[in-house]
Amino acid sequence: MNIFTAIGRAAVLAVIATIAFSASAQAADKLKIGFVYVGPVGDHGWSYQHQQGLLALKKEFGDKIETTYVEKVSEGPDAERVIQQLAQKGHKLIFTTSFGFMNPTLKVARRFKNSYFEHATGFKRSKNVATYNIRYYEGRYVAGILAGKITKSNTIGYIASFPIPEVIMGINAAYLGAKSVNPDVKFKIIWVSSWFDPGKEANAAKALTDQGADILFQHTDSPAAMKLAEEKGIFAVGQASNMHAFGPTAQLTALINNWTPYYVDRVKAVMNGTWKSTNTWGGIKSGMLQFAKWNPKIPADVVKLAEDARDAIAAGKLHPFTGPLKKQDGTLFLNKGEKIADKALAGMNFYVEGIDGSLPK
């Protein structure tokens, strides 16, 4: 080869080396963190709370991190594409915040072994995939106590999304809480087959109130039911974030997801190099589940019942699922005094005795 070809080749190599060096130097500066949301950040529910976690991370770590979030990612093939894109763009820590992202996360994690993935509400882990969740059922039990005491019609309406164990255990816990203070209470449950559809949630809420429910629970992500409760002058329990703005007089309390302590912990672990795949299931004790201010209309003795239960659960003295408990078909699944194991809870696919209606398949 002649001299010019040699110079040309050397120049190309130099350019490539510079780019590679600067890219890696850049990556070494900031930790890139990605978030994948199933709904819009403005849902004032589930995804909104995760975004609050993201904002708290920015406040805590400032310049040391760079965050990206993608919202309204549907739980299907698109999810894999989005997670993959984030990983490809150099995000070392990726939070996927919905149950349906489980398999896409695992798939992408296999291809990007140097990135860490955190999957919320799932149950499959791998070397670089951790799972995390909140024991919402503890909160629902406490809210159930409030509802059981406050209801005048003894009918409580529940707007449910999909029949996965997490939703089912929520229904069971709320029912057990209500029944513990009011043996005559009845639950009416409507499945809307969506995490977020304000029109459907409003219709379901209306159907429940038409059928006599005077307190509404929901496991869906929009404030539509709370708004309807406010209009009709009944009560409702806020889901995932404080829905007080939508139901100033209607909100009994709200079960608020506080992801900040967990997120800060995990980012620190990545920065220290101590990150390991773990399964975190935080309850009231961990500070991940918080309650909004009690509605002033709740009588003081009922507030005390709820606060006592909350503190007992946090202290480990009370578990919402303590035997003797029977399934809806009458079979005993917890003996007297026996507390349910986490594994059984995570696979719960039955109603407890006393709930009418059957689970959709």
Binding site: G42, G157, I190, G199, D210, Q211, G357
Partner: protein
Amino acid sequence: MDLAVNIIIGIIIAATPLVYAAIGELVAEKSGVLNLGVEGMMIIGAVAAFAATIETGSFILGVCAAIICGALMALIFAFITQTLLANQVATGLALTMFGLGLAALLGQAYSGKSAPTFPKLAIPGLSDLPILGPLLFGHDILVYMSLALVIAVAWFLARTRTGLVIRAIGENHDAAHAIGYPVVAYRYATLAFGGACAGVGGAYLSIVQTPLWVENMTAGRGWIALALVVFAAWRPWRAFAGAYLFGGITIVQLHSQGLGLEVEPQLLAMLPYIATIIVLVLISSDRSRAHLNAPAKLGQTFFAPA
């Protein structure tokens, strides 16, 4: 009895947006244009109405904003298909996606806000009747206007000269053009009307049914409205009945779950959409169209020779 009344009220609320969207689309299709962009026009109407109501506090201005914005979207479609002679099906689909995206973008600023409740009619003597009161006289004005709209459109298409011209254009635009009718102008007008109606249908969702704005809140209702028009064999009263049937299935499905009836909720929830798919398949196969009373030139581009 109370429960039955409430269920019927729920059905009326669920059906009204479909009535508006379907009637508007029916008029457009009678003039021979297949506008698949109903979903896009509805959602733009929804965001426009919500934004206007929040900014000005007036529901009337909200509905007017929905009418104008829906009509504007339809006019974009009209320009592309009637003047630029693009394919109607492709343009309609593009309009849907454009409308959904644009509405999401414009609605960003409004996604946590709460609009005031739309007032319901309160006629002193009539609204207080035991059963008929809330059932017939206790709704908001848009419900009554939807009924008036159906009556007006049915009369207009069947009994007026302009209605006859519109139908003629839909059946044979070349002959109408030969006689001397301004085919393109008529189609612009019917499309604008269709857009305005779809806009009001969307407005009903965002300021009456759930006074909230959320992205994609129409959730496929535009497609159902399209199917309704074919379902109804392009007759206004049948479209009205079809809208109530579709709305009815949705509401009854929710109630039956609450009552503990043993039908799989997912099955009932699928029904309106399955019917939509079946009907949309039929609409695209030429042979069946003749049997379905469709305007003969539906979906075909009109090119005026000189």
